[in-house]
Symmetry: C2
Subunit: 640 residues, 2 copies
């Protein structure tokens, strides 16, 4: 029986002739997605034959050129008598564990959020054209022939070209009998040709979606012909050293040279991540010919080198909400220099493209009268409430606590982060779940929420977030006025130092959750509604795969509503950017959403402070607002 | 009586209070144009008051902002009691004499060629806007307010912005109470804002028209608010060292690095000329925000760094005829980097934007049935024949002789060039007219034509261009097989060496004129017409102000037709580029002309060689074609 080897894992299996590759993968323990059930319709089980002969019938789903490069559908490919080596798109970060860069999780969210029938229609397209040879006396230049060939397939829209394309077109159209691959950016008024290559190069076609957060930056590499997410990488924004939140970044930018420094820092972060996603998948950055960037308004200003000062000063007016057409070269993003960098539209000074991207991942404004709420928990918390008829949005400053910033042992949801904690009611000690099954390095947002919730339920902290000094626990260290909770003792941590949460850290977390909850309650008050009137609450944020809504409700980060009303949608900013990258329809929809949103400035709302102060307790000063949580707390076992 | 001083000449005059500046200028011997006769309607007598008080009523013709900068109409400005210093736009190249850069000549041609009622509507516009201050809760960014203000005046066309504009807009709109000057490029589908400055800067608004010839390059600085030509400078194309004609340039470009070298060389020439026109008029290159470039197809390819190889190879297909939107920065032209560099459309491999620009200066395709001919005499000779219904065009390789290239003592029509020669029939000696009343440095195209014509009429050369060896003249030097004609003996020339024309030079000139004449006769043959059927013959070329059609007819450069059928239009390529720069209407008209022209490839016309060979005599082998010239020759006084 022939041996089937799967790369890059190296797993092997022997199977008789006639077996299909999907079965081989299953038996070898290699995961391949096939949401259509192996019917050859979804195109998701694409693999590449590195060596060996197979019998495949992938045409129709895959293009001829894709097949000619060795790509096939595993479900439609049968083994013959020879050994075969197959390459599959394996997840990055194979250190293992659930952190937000894990491809599986991304795919999972992608499947959950992306409508089945979405219109695949990427902003940038590679297209094969057969340009006729030059003719004497036809009066046509090389460019004229190219334009006519293009217009024959794409209609009479005017076509424009970049200078680098102009410089190579004469040689390229004469190389492979006139067969060329053009890279196109389409707008209703004009097609812009930003690249031309000889022959069929449609399978070397990538895009990136980028989420520029105040604290973290995420870059996703997408194989555009199949809208396939190849890899995702997240890192802290290199700007963090210049301030933890947008206001401190804006202040920092006001000194001479600092604006340029901030621009350089975020570009360095983005470009490093691009380098990483590319190099681990054998993609040249130059093969990336479109980028969609989502970020809050300040982050976008800093990325483009725009003075963000007026975002902070009354009347809080940003320079730009809908950025004009910009190339990668102009912005400084290290992909094909002629690529279009599309910046997701912002709504106001403190509601940016991350939110308009996030909304794309929801049915918040879908037909129907039900009113829904979208909450993005980040360094800035943003929310949107509304339905098909109205959309109100506002922002609040939560601080970077949930992303690990400003918390002594905080970290983002990556390998080594404690993402879930259970407290032993008796001893007060913690049992932790760590991302990636390694020694813990710190605690991420979802871990903090889980920890505080359990400490509250077990009575080890009070409503003010103070640790119980009346009982002794090996986990509680009292040091003068302050005290801290040892989550992991030194001998069990990766660094050899204890992982702890001080009362000051806890205060930070409470302030963060209070900012978000009070913004929600104020917004509802403004439109005369109560939390109970909401149909669905979408929660977005960089918590990785995992956010325990139950725990978030216990600490009063989110209202006390039935679990089924909640949907956790992860880093929806990045997901929305991906959606815009692969579909013009989503881009239009997003622009429409952005323009329909009404921005409310919380700082001018007299009542906001009352709402905020009321929320500075666990779960809240107003007991009646959290009946389920109080029932839980009261039902707690009495301390030993 | 107050003293009136005119700058930069320093000329002064004293006149009583109440006199107007136009009169003062006249009395001081300072030339100011006033084609309207001093009625205050043409706006041409614009001057600037440097110091002193005057009583002026220039509003209405000049904008308030122009007046506020000290600009006034001389005819509408009266002297008061104080001394006044007035700056006038004086011609460049004040060494004197008629060479083609002389502003007077340019203005003359401009007045002659520019239709009275042309639509002033420059491609780039500076416009003052009053942007309202930012408002709380209006949901508008700085850019949104700017766009709305712009659209209020210019209609709902979409507006886009460059990144440098984005970077300065926030600060600029907050400086002078929201008053800003935007620099706009308008197209039917979109307004592109390429600059923004605080306050009213509309009087600092310049454009350049550039003629990139194979041999010479000319740059013209234009004050856009008044479509006023400020200065013109011409120089040899630095590419000359790489080959004298387009074919040798193309050959040169094929070695590694040579294409880039050629690009750099022509850019160096252009940018040096820009520097010159700017510095002599106190204009910063950054204040130039639009450029129109006319050049033959090869020159445009080299300027843009496009491989010109296929222009030379069958089937002679250029990369581009209508160049896409390009910025100064991309092209490498040292003006405002965001400026649009508009490249005049080409028609074929050997008929370029210089010709479509030239045609703009003619009524060749004007309503009416009359058939006209346009001849551009340059290193490549190009012609167009047609009327409103059809336009045929072709090119021939004349060589650089008429521009001074390839001729030992040849030079362009600049100071020191012999531009007209009269031969003493008896002695055979020459009497020369030199541009600029200086010692002669060489002979320019019009001088060569004049010289050959007179030598032919006086019998000192024969129909083959050979000097008469039977008679002796101090002007003829016989040296073995060859001989040469001494135009200026060493003691009278600027260099101390004689200025002479060898028989080899004469052969070159004959070949040049034969190429052009035979191309004309072949084109007419193709459409079944004769020269006599032509209504008007437009002659263009770098001959400066002066081309004696009579002499051109004697040597057989142009057909033997009545003088009144000819119109000499000078460097019509530069003039046409100027017209496109100041009017979108001309741009559209030019594009229409370019698209309607049918390009004929002479090299594939079997009969061309016969026509050419027939024209290799003075005036022509076919006596009947030049009856007037032969009458002149035969009527010559018999030699003493």
């Amino acid at each position: 029986m022939p041996l089937i080897t799967f790369q890059p894992s190296g797993k092997t299996v022997e199977l008789p002739r006639g077996s299909d590759l999907l079965e081989a993968a299953r038996q070898a323990g290699v995961e391949i997605e096939f949401p259509c059930g192996g019917k050859g319709t979804c195109g998701k089980c694409i693999v590449r034959i590195i060596s060996g002969d197979v019998d495949s019938d992938s045409l129709g789903v895959l293009s001829a050129s894709t097949v000619s490069e060795g790509y096939m559908l595993a479900c439609r490919t049968k083994i013959l008598d020879t050994p075969v080596t197959v390459e599959i798109q394996e997840p990055l970060g194979r250190e293992g564990g659930k952190f937000s860069d894990e491809l599986e999780d991304i795919q999972l969210i992608r499947h959950e959020l992306l409508p089945e029938d979405y219109q695949f229609d990427p902003l940038a397209l590679k297209w094969v054209l057969d340009v006729p040879p030059p003719q004497k006396d036809d009066g046509l230049s090389d460019l004229d022939r190219l334009t006519r060939t293009l217009q024959k397939e794409w209609g009479k829209t005017p076509v424009s070209y970049t200078l680098p394309v102009l410089r190579s077109v004469a040689d390229v159209v004469r190389r492979e009998n006139g067969r060329v691959t053009v890279t196109l950016i389409r707008s209703p008024e004009r097609y812009q040709v930003i690249g031309i290559e000889p022959g069929d190069r449609t399978t070397r076609h990538y895009g990136i979606s980028v989420d520029v957060g105040t604290t973290t930056v995420a870059v996703q590499l997408v194989f555009l012909p199949m809208a396939q997410i190849v890899a995702t990488r997240t890192a802290y924004n290199d700007q963090i050293e210049c301030g933890l939140d947008v206001i401190s970044r804006i202040n920092y930018s006001q000194k001479p040279g600092h604006l340029e420094e901030l621009r350089t820092r975020v570009l360095r972060t983005i470009n490093r991540l691009i380098q990483q996603v590319c190099s681990s998948h054998g993609v040249a950055p130059n093969e990336i010919c479109n980028g969609v960037v989502a970020g809050n308004t300040t982050m976008i200003h800093l990325l483009l080198g725009l003075n963000p000062e007026y975002i902070r000063l009354e009347p809080y007016t940003p320079t730009v909400l809908e950025a004009p057409y910009l190339t990668a070269d102009q912005v400084g993003i290290a992909i094909n220099p002629q690529s279009w960098i599309y910046i997701a539209p912002c709504v106001g000074s403190y509601v940016g493209g991350d939110i308009t991207c996030g909304l794309l991942c929801t049915d918040l404004a879908a037909p129907g009268d039900e009113i829904n709420l979208f909450i993005d928990v980040g360094t800035n918390g943003e929310l949107v409430v509304g339905n098909q008829d109205f959309l109100l949005t506002c922002a609040c400053s939560a601080g970077p606590a949930f992303e690990g910033g400003g918390i002594e042992c905080g970290m983002r949801a990556a390998v080594g982060a404690i993402e879930r904690v259970e407290i032993d009611a008796e001893s007060g000690q913690a049992r932790c779940q760590v991302i990636g099954d390694v020694k813990p390095r710190g605690i991420c947002g979802s871990g903090m929420i889980s920890l505080l919730a359990d400490l509250l339920i077990t009575g080890w902290i009070d409503a003010a977030g103070k640790l119980d000094r009346n009982r002794t626990s090996p986990a509680i260290e009292i040091d003068g006025k302050g005290s801290r909770y040892i989550i992991v003792p030194n001998e069990q941590s990766a660094s050899g130092k204890p992982i702890a949460l001080s009362e000051i850290d806890i205060e930070n977390i409470i302030r963060a959750k209070a900012a978000i909850y009070s913004a929600c309650s104020l917004m509802l008050e403004k439109i005369g509604l109560e939390f109970a009137d909401l149909a669905t609450i979408y929660i977005a944020g960089g918590f990785g795969r995992f956010l325990d809504i139950e725990k978030a409700r216990i600490i009063g980060l989110v209202p006390d509503l039935p679990r089924e009303k909640y949907r956790y949608i992860g880093n929806s900013s990045l997901m929305g950017a991906y959606m815009v990258l692969v579909s013009q329809d989503f881009k239009e929809r997003q622009l429409d959403l952005a323009r329909r949103m009404t921005y409310i400035d919380l700082s001018s709302e007299a009542n906001y402070m009352n709402h905020y102060t009321g929320a500075l307790f666990l779960p809240h000063t107003e007991r009646s607002a959290f009946p389920t949580v109080h029932a839980l707390i009261e039902g707690r076992p009495s301390p030993g």
